[in-house]
């Protein structure tokens, strides 16, 4: 007899496995298979081409990707760690406010962030031109572009990873450890290097690897800023645009291999025993800054940092008020109005992308919400053979760069397949919501799993003992308890899906183009104002959803990030 528990497990697993196999595993395999084909015949030729003389460009792109990522880690750490140390260890006027500002880069979708940087510091950017005019220079003193541009944007958008891990690690260090070291006669400097820093290391290593992976996958920054400079994620896009799907597949495989090896390294590192402290919630102990000069320096530093951090947001807001034609060849915008936002409601062409984005993001979010609940529940509360394998499948979309996820879907669904009910999905509306769904599965599963693991099995048993059937228990006991985790994962999925660019650019069609694609189009037409207005709409949507989540469901955005 197959007992009732086993039957339930199997019923739960069927949809989970079908979806993961159909939309994660099968597309990945399709890409690998494609990478071994040339003109439809099996061969290793693509890999030969990649590493061979014939296309030095590919190898160069790989190398560039790696070294940009390494530099990104370096610069992000250089900004994030000291900032976290200062904000968490010293008390000075405005500290709380500045530390809230410090994570602001995270609310800018990547494409929008890059665009703001271009407006600010690019060749025609406001800052270089303002300096030029101010000092009567014949040429702009500096401008970002190519590698410097990419690195600057990466440092700006990725330092929060270091900032947040360092902050939380610092807050979790038991103050008595450092006090013990002082008590034993160590100097301040020695205490930092011998006690504090070693305790921070595990978190820093994790942040480094994360930043490395994110930069390897980074698409928007090179897309807008690279110029002639080649990186691998962008090469994939070019190969696809040129119709060389086989090479795109090969490049995808190689990018994935690099990313996944770093992920595996990270897992291995984290699984090693580290010496994080069990004692928690001691709270930070901050030194009051008494020296008035030092106090002044710190406050000034805080203000300058705040300006630099918020300048992109402010620029975006101001430029969104520039109507079409008022800032093309001119140094500064010449007129301001609410034209761009008015058009949104009047011109269906302008409104369409917003509607598309909303619909597709909501579809994907509903998908990850339901799928996340079921999958996490199966993974945490049910026992079955092959659990580890399922766990890995769930995490694959997280480890894969977005461009690769996009390529996988193209190669799997540009022909009929059982998982698309015999249809060709590429070129239809559904391929994009599907891509968002696949991309953000891991976010919801991870945050839900974290909550489920805290939930004791006895709660379900208690409900059952009181006479509740499985489904009633699931609905009235399990779901309410895990809801905060599910919601914060879904919130994060929403935030990212609204701004998602790499998969959008690979998979959009004219009729389902989302906001990000329209931003790209407006930029191409030098309609900076409308592009900025779209950027503001993305930021606005994100802000509204975060506010609702916080207000009505008590989900704090910091927890999700």
């Amino acid at each position: 007899m197959l007992n009732a528990e086993k039957r339930k497990t199997i019923l739960l697993l069927i949809p989970v496995v079908l979806i993961l196999v159909g939309y994660v595993l099968y597309p990945s395999i399709a890409t690998i298979v494609e990478s071994f084909k040339q003109k439809g015949v099996f061969s290793m030729e693509n890999y030969n081409d990649f590493f061979g003389e014939k296309s030095a460009a590919n190898f160069e792109a790989l190398w560039n990707s790696v070294y940009i990522s390494l530099l990104s880690v370096f610069f992000s750490a250089l900004i994030g760690i000291p900032l976290a140390y200062i904000f968490n260890r010293y008390d000075f006027p405005g500290r709380q406010f500045f530390s809230n500002i410090a994570i602001m880069p995270i609310v800018l979708p990547s494409l929008v962030g890059v665009m703001a940087f271009m407006f600010l510091y690019g060749e025609a950017g406001l800052v270089p031109n303002a300096i030029k005019d101010l000092f009567n220079l014949s040429e702009v003193p500096f401008s970002i572009g190519g590698i410097s541009g990419i690195l600057l944007v990466h440092a700006y958008t990725m330092y929060p990873y270091f900032y947040m891990t360092t902050s939380s690690a610092l807050n979790n260090i038991d103050p008595s450890l450092e006090e013990a070291a002082y008590n034993l006669g160590s100097s301040k400097f020695k205490v930092f290097w011998k006690v504090t820093f070693p305790l921070l290391t595990p978190g820093l290593v994790a942040a480094s690897l994360l930043v490395f992976m994110v930069s390897m996958a980074s698409f928007s920054a090179p897309f807008l800023l690279a110029g002639g400079f080649r990186v691998l994620s962008l090469q994939i896009y070019f190969s696809k645009i040129n119709g060389d799907l086989e090479m795109a597949a090969t490049q995808s495989v190689i990018l994935s291999v690099v990313s996944i090896s770093f992920l595996l390294f990270m897992r291995w590192y984290q699984s090693r025993k580290d010496y994080r402290m069990a004692s928690k919630g001691i709270g930070a102990h901050r030194s009051e800054v008494n020296n008035p000069v030092l106090k002044g320096v710190m406050v000034t530093l805080g203000i300058v940092a705040m300006i630099v951090l918020l300048l992109p947001h402010a620029t975006l807001l101001i430029l969104s008020l520039v109507p079409e034609g008022a800032w093309t060849w001119q140094t500064y915008p010449t007129a301001f109005s609410l034209e761009n936002f008015r058009l949104l409601f009047e011109d269906p062409n302008i409104w369409d992308p917003v509607r598309n984005s909303l619909i597709m993001t909501c579809l994907a979010c509903i998908g990850v919400f339901i799928f996340g609940i079921i999958t996490s529940y199966a993974l945490v509360k049910r026992s079955f053979i092959g659990k580890n394998l399922l766990d890995i499948l769930v995490m694959i979309p997280w480890a894969l760069p977005a461009t690769v996820v996009g390529m996988n879907l193209i190669l799997a669904f540009n022909k009929p397949s059982p998982f698309s009910f015999g249809q060709i999905l590429v070129g239809t509306f559904w391929i994009l919501p599907l891509a968002y769904f696949v991309r953000f599965i891991p976010l919801v599963v991870r945050s839900t799993t974290a909550v489920l693991e805290q939930m004791d099995d006895s709660l379900e048993e208690a409900a059952q003992n009181l006479g509740a059937k499985w489904f009633y228990t699931f609905r009235r006991v399990v779901i309410p308890i895990i809801m905060p985790g599910v919601l914060s994962g879904t919130l994060l999925a929403f935030v990212q899906a609204v701004g998602e660019f790499p998969t959008s650019v690979l998979l959009y069609t004219l009729s389902n183009r989302p906001i990000s694609i329209e931003i790209m189009n407006q930029l191409r037409m030098f309609n900076m104002g409308q592009a900025a207005a779209y950027g503001m709409i993305q930021v606005g949507l994100i802000a509204i959803v975060m506010f609702i989540a916080y207000r009505f469901f008590g989900v704090k955005s910091e927890n999700t990030l």
Binding site: S458, L459, E461, A463, N465, G467, R476, V477
Partner: protein, 367 residues
């Protein structure tokens, strides 16, 4: 209300046998305790009664109904979990009402019954509290109320007091017993604490290594243990290996290598347990049965020794008497003032009365 009938129950987890061939009948309205060291299979047995595990072999019956493979939600048992398992997102009222709502009882009736049971556990003023705002003892009471309100046939409690501090534990012991008597529910209580078991139970089943060693009333278990495990686990005892020598009328004599002397034991059912000829035998005597004095005692079973340690616990005094290199006998006497305490190093005589010694076989199974 139900009787519970376990016949030949065995439960295996992989190659671990958690419960072996268990036969038990628990009577209607009885307060029945599973007592044993941790890991001996008490929880596993309880969970088979609740339906969370299905036995590998054997049958579970409530009254005459075979429940062996009935799922938990259809058994109408009320379980109190060790960690209480209160639903954290619900108030006290909602927690207690959960089982009633599942049974589709109408709102006014639910309200009446919840208020009723909360009054019984003395929590009526906390009815709208979130459960996280209650103290440990109060949470315990909510868990009890939640189990009682559905009028279960059987109340199951798995070490319900182990998370409470000593004083609260005493209080809850009386409380649970009061409620059980009031409702008259058949109750199965799991504990590793012998004091709890002895003070609360109508009958006790002593477990070790997945097997039930003995079933009996508290006094039977304490006074007439069937083997060395039960004697040693319940209360304190002095245990020495002995061999049978001969019978002289109403007295048996046993020889003890360690004492280098024979021991005389009365030939009654109270003093000699059932055993087979092949069993290894032990003599057991409770510390409170041993008499000591500084002057020689004229009787059998008198051993001379030295006082090595005197422990004062308040109500009683433990005196350890070293007979020889391998035997030290523990004795206990009620505290009768400082003049009666022995000094360490004093030469004394210890008398083991022949009608207080119990000869028992070694427990079967691996040891």
């Amino acid at each position: 209300m139900s009787t519970v009938n376990l016949s030949e129950i065995t439960k295996q987890f992989g190659n671990v046998t958690a419960v072996k061939g268990l036969d038990l009948v628990i009577k209607e309205g009885e307060f029945f305790t599973f007592l044993g060291p941790s890991g001996c299979g008490k929880t596993t047995t309880l969970r088979m009664i609740a339906g969370f595990y299905f036995p590998t072999k054997g049958k579970v019956k409530f009254n005459e109904r075979d429940m062996t493979s009935v799922s938990p939600e259809k058994r109408n048992t009320g379980m109190v979990f060790q960690n209480y398992a209160l639903f954290p997102h619900m108030t006290v009222f909602e927690n207690v009402a959960f089982g009633l709502k599942v049974r589709k009882i109408n709102k006014t009736e639910v309200k009446r019954r919840v208020e009723d049971v909360l009054k019984k556990v003395r929590l009526e003023q906390f009815i709208d509290r979130q459960v996280s705002q209650l103290s440990g003892g109060q949470q315990q009471r909510v868990a009890l109320a939640r189990a009682l309100v559905i009028e279960p046939d059987i109340l199951l409690l798995d070490e319900p007091l182990s998370n409470l501090d000593a004083r609260l534990r005493d209080e809850m012991r009386t409380e649970i017993l009061r409620l059980q008597r009031e409702y008259g529910i058949t109750t199965i209580y799991v504990t590793h604490d012998q004091v709890e078991a002895l003070t609360m139970s109508d009958r006790i089943a002593v477990f070790n290594l997945g097997e039930c060693q003995q079933v009996g009333t508290p006094t039977e278990i304490y006074n007439k243990p069937v083997n060395d495990f039960v004697a040693e686990f319940i209360g304190e005892t002095n245990l020495l290996p002995v061999e049978r020598e001969k019978q002289e009328g109403e007295i048996f004599t046993f020889s003890s290598k360690d004492l280098e002397q024979t021991v005389h034991v009365a030939h009654t059912e109270l003093n000699i347990a059932d055993y087979n000829d092949t069993d290894d035998l032990y003599m057991s005597i409770r510390p409170e049965a041993v008499e000591i004095s500084e002057t020689p005692i004229q009787a059998e079973n008198v051993f001379s020794g030295t006082v090595t340690l005197v422990q004062f616990t308040g109500e009683s005094v433990h005196t350890f008497v070293k007979i020889n290199e391998s035997v030290t006998i523990k004795t206990t006497a009620l505290n009768r003032g400082p003049s009666t305490y022995f000094k360490e190093g004093t030469q004394v005589y210890a008398y083991l009365p022949e009608n207080h010694i119990r000869v028992i076989p070694e427990a079967k199974g691996d040891k």
